[in-house]
Symmetry: C2
Subunit: 398 residues, 2 copies
């Protein structure tokens, strides 16, 4: 991390100046939505202008859009260490989760294993599949493994001979815990009848250095608008080459199919487009590409993750020292998510009061806590500002 040695503050200031959202606040909601670099916003605007110039609907614009799709898949593929053909572009991480959830050829009596830390939308989708196809769902308690115990052991206890799919998050969105995904996948794939693993990667993509080929998860659903700081409305799904044939598309449009010379559907696209649906906001491809490139200018994924850990350690440490604040984790965080509780007022009131001071954090309902996120470009001064305000809010309540 050579960038830390030579005038780091100047370089950080310069880097941060490209994020207009950071000009008027201290920002800790990267797990909700990342701050877009100006270059990403500009790229979207330029894409709109270019599409109007050469189209909007023309041979030229259709070709350009296909090229943009190729380029954003290349950029994502490089970050995730996967072949670009394994990637499906989606509107968001929920769509990315729904594709495998609905795409498995469920039979009555099949078992799906959830964890107790999944996003409510994903839980609701699983329960609707239960209703539609007569599957069984159980939920395993991973929240309790934040400070002790082994998530892999818990999952092992909950696997059944009928289990076909485990749904979990790589980083738990509520507590910030990083699950030992490689180990869990190994466990699932080693079952007599293979158990597939669907990963909600909302918090891990753009935060962790990733090699999905080595991790071997079957389905890995992500979004560009959180830790990658891209525009809202563009995410994706990685489907491992091994799992691809086992999955059928559910929501279907012209993008996922092949057609005959007379326009009749003949089958699915051979690559990740198989699960894409229809018209999207293609200008976002240029936006996300610009955002990813901007992070790469700063440092490698490993560099950025190390910096996130330094900063979340610092935030965790400072919060832990406040008398009436309790960090959920006993040990320094493994991610950029720092969750904590405060005595005194209810958490929503505290979050609202902090927003009034231009300090942006959020509440989590389960467990009832406040979540503050740091990115690699978070300023130490921002952390100090937040901790001071929290200390102050505490003092006022006492």
């Amino acid at each position: 991390m050579t960038y830390l040695s030579s005038a780091p503050l100047d370089r950080l200031d310069q880097h941060r100046q490209q994020f207009p959202a950071l000009a008027n606040k201290a920002y800790f909601n990267y797990g909700g939505q990342g701050t877009m670099p100006q270059g990403a916003i500009d790229a979207i605007q330029q894409a709109h202008e270019y599409i109007q110039k050469i189209g909007p609907f023309s041979g030229a614009s259709n070709g350009w859009i296909m090229e943009q799709a190729k380029q954003i898949k290349m950029a994502i593929a490089t970050e995730l260490s996967v072949p670009p053909e394994t990637l499906t572009l989606t509107e968001d991480v929920s769509v990315g989760c729904n594709i495998p959830l609905w795409g498995i050829d469920w039979q009555a009596g099949d078992h799906l294993l959830l964890t107790d830390c999944e996003h409510p939308g994903i839980i609701a989708a699983a329960h609707e599949i239960q209703r539609r196809f007569g599957i069984e769902i159980t939920t395993c308690p991973l929240m309790a493994t934040l400070n002790e115990g082994n998530p892999t052991d818990v999952i092992a206890q909950y696997l059944q001979p009928t289990t076909r799919l485990v749904v979990l998050s790589h980083i738990l969105w509520n507590t910030g815990q990083v699950l030992p995904l490689a180990e869990i996948v190994q466990l699932c794939h080693a079952q007599p009848k293979i158990v597939r693993v669907l990963v909600d990667a909302a918090q891990s993509v753009g935060m962790l250095p990733l090699n999905l080929t080595e991790l071997e998860a079957d389905f890995y659903a992500f979004t560009g608008h959180k830790w990658w700081c891209g525009p809202a409305g563009l995410g994706g799904l990685y489907v491992s080459p091994d799992a691809q044939a086992s999955l059928s598309p559910t929501f279907i449009g012209w993008r996922g199919i092949t057609v005959s010379s007379s326009g009749q559907p003949t089958g699915w696209m051979a690559d990740g487009r198989k699960f894409e649906i229809a018209t999207s906001d293609y200008t976002l491809y240029a936006g996300l590409k610009a955002a990813i490139a901007y992070h790469q200018q700063w440092g490698t994924a490993t560099d950025r993750y190390h910096r996130i850990l330094q900063l979340s350690h610092s935030l965790w440490q400072k919060l832990s020292e406040l008398p009436h604040v309790t960090c959920l984790r006993n040990a320094p965080p493994e991610s950029g998510l720092v969750s904590f509780t405060m005595e005194g007022q209810p958490h929503p009131a505290i979050v609202q009061a902090l927003e009034q001071q231009n300090l942006l954090v959020r509440t989590i309902l389960d467990p009832d806590c406040i979540r503050a996120c740091v990115h690699y470009f978070t300023a130490e001064a921002e952390i100090e500002q937040l901790v001071e305000a929290i200390a102050c809010a505490q003092a006022t309540n006492l």
Copy 2:
């Protein structure tokens, strides 16, 4: 249509100047994608800037996004004459069709009726549902009713006691025929066991003056990026109040569900959000709102449709006079879509040659033809330019 009486050309020129796409070409692909007014592009850019200023993830930005969603639903509801609560925002018309297609509680042996003029993506979705749930599909021949016969009679012949859903387009995307939707819906709803009607409204919304409450179709899926000239990536679905309870969500995320105080899913949103999934590009709401407002500045939906008919009549007439061009319709068009065949070179080569001259039309595979679309703001000079080029292309081939 008072605007035609007082210096119409000046007003038209002025109106057209707000569409950057019209500056360098003659455009006839509104059925593929509409030309965005500059105000819509600017609104998107401003929304991006505003979201970064107040968020991107904050109490303020979440509130603002909810308000934007409300406003775009109001704008759409006014254009379609429906209560805003009946509207679901989707990424595109295909998603809007997939929601009812998958949301019906299909039982093996149920019958779904398609027409032979539906978009291949929708046909593929229907066939996947057939595979998943063991339903039966038949396809009724409406293409042949372009110049003779009655589509309602054809559909009546194809209804079965087991038919649960008819899927058709309000305006056929290949031939431009406008189906007698009210009559067809009446027929379907009068069956001993009610037959629901799903309408692919890709070509009708933004072209026809619409009152969906009177039309009584059960499901009406549309997009903002064709005849409304909004941004790609935003469409919607109308679900009639009567049909709402019969439909379950399929792709599910946080937007469609209600949660308990501890964040557990408790049910569906009571209004059209029930079928919305998760994070979208919310900046598009401002873009589409601006586009719709821009059309309203010109005239009412009825005014605009009448102007479209004048212009498509003119194009149809001029094309019909060319010796080696055959318009698919014998009578003047009922919509802005004018489809025709040409002798000589294959249609793709002709379309490509026209694009070289900045004249944008497209091919259709079934029936094999060329499709040219006119909007209410198409210039007569554009039509003349296209007809001349086609006459010229013909002359060259002979």
